[in-house]
């Protein structure tokens, strides 16, 4: 395949739209997309096996920018680091802000800046753990890039996926993102301390999550007041 065509295919793959492909390269684009997803799943499986072999509990956290992913992690890590060796991998398009926040609570952190990419993928995680002796960790958290759309396609090889939304995003936020909740094990509805002030219909949010995924565990939290942190830790198996 000529180089120019290859580049064109990878560009189209990047914008995630098969419709943009000219007829002549449409098949190739579709095949490439499928292969990419397959590869991600293969790598994720291997990562998960590595985690299991080293008795590591692992979680990835997805959610919109500002939902409170980092704030929750700060609370969780503060408690867990008293007993466990914790590694937190933070994804953001740029900066080390979140990793710095979490590092204050005694966890080792690694920042990934994805630049133009809107989600972490299994290869990023693979690249990090290839340099690590996994025997040095008990728990690994991965905070994904803030975004409710892109991360749904890419599993990262963790035990459980936690999706965090906050009631400030409006009571329709779960209803509008079925894919992500179908792929999550735990839905956290955060900033519950603001419920009175905002009058958000939290029950609707809980029902929406359960409707998309009857297996999902739903919990309301406040990273500000610490409400239900103990319950969240229990859901994580601590």
């Amino acid at each position: 395949m000529p180089n120019k065509e290859k580049l064109e295919i990878s560009r189209i793959k990047e914008v995630e739209s098969t419709n943009l492909a000219r007829d002549e390269i449409r098949d190739e684009v579709i095949e490439t997309k499928k292969a990419v997803e397959r590869d991600n799943n293969l790598i994720a499986d291997k990562i998960h096996q590595d985690f299991l072999n080293n008795s590591i509990k692992s979680f990835d956290i997805v959610g919109a920018i500002g939902a409170g992913k980092t704030a929750l992690l700060e609370k969780i890590v503060e408690i867990l680091t008293q007993k466990y060796r914790v590694l937190v991998i933070c994804g953001d398009i740029t900066t080390r802000v979140d990793a710095d926040r979490i590092e204050k609570h005694n966890a080792e952190t690694i920042q990934i800046n994805t630049g133009r990419e809107c989600a972490l993928n299994a290869y990023h995680i693979h690249q990090i753990i290839k340099n690590k002796n996994l025997q040095n960790y008990d728990v690994i958290f991965i905070e994904n890039v803030g975004n409710l759309i892109c991360p749904s396609e890419f599993v990262l090889g963790t035990d459980k996926r936690i999706t965090v939304v906050s009631i400030t995003e409006g009571e329709w936020v779960i209803e509008k993102h079925p894919m992500l909740f179908k792929m999550s094990d735990i839905a956290v509805i955060n900033k519950i301390d603001l419920k009175e002030r905002l009058g958000t219909n939290v029950e609707k949010m809980i029902n929406d999550a359960k409707k998309f995924n009857p297996e999902i565990e739903v919990i309301t939290t406040s990273a500000k007041t610490g409400e239900n942190m103990d319950k969240l830790l229990e859901l994580l198996g601590f």
């Binding site: 180089n3 990878s10 990047e14 398009i93 740029t94 080390r96 690694i110 920042q111 990934i112 800046n113 994805t114 630049g115 133009r116 990419e117 990023h124 690249q127 990090i128 340099n131």
Partner: protein, 139 residues
């Protein structure tokens, strides 16, 4: 950090000794001390997995993945679709399009003006306009 870099540079100027040297050990020590510095490059938004240390005036193309454990010397240029991890690149180097380097060292003033290369555990040096002109020593 500079101390290890100097040692590594001393080793790679004598290509016949690279294989028997403790170069991997030197690299590992260097990486264990490597800091993150990625706010000073020229170009598109690459993906960085820390630690990545960029000296001044590094140019980076589209769709590039750097890290973990990458050091890039001053005035070096990384072309599009490149992926580099656990690698030291010295000053004034040009890395061609679609290169994948893992656990490599690239000597200063090297220039690779061709596309597609996938190498591990090697020292790369010199000027190469074609793949078969590449000077490469495994370790």
């Amino acid at each position: 950090m500079k101390q290890e870099l100097t040692k590594i540079e001393e080793v790679i100027v004598k290509p016949e000794e690279i294989k028997e040297s403790n170069i991997q050990e030197l690299m590992d020590t260097f990486f264990s001390k490597l800091k993150n510095r990625v706010d000073n490059y020229i170009g598109d938004y690459p993906t960085f997995i820390e630690p990545v240390y960029l000296e001044d005036n590094v140019k980076i193309g589209d769709d590039v993945l750097l890290g973990p454990n990458v050091y890039i010397g001053a005035n070096s240029e990384i072309s599009d679709y490149v992926e580099i991890s656990n690698t030291i690149i010295f000053d004034n180097v040009k890395i061609g399009e679609n290169f994948k380097l893992e656990n490599c060292i690239v000597a200063k003033d090297s220039s690779f003006n061709f596309t597609e290369l996938n190498v591990k555990k090697s020292v790369l040096m010199g000027v190469a306009n074609l793949k078969n002109e590449l000077q490469k020593i495994g370790f």
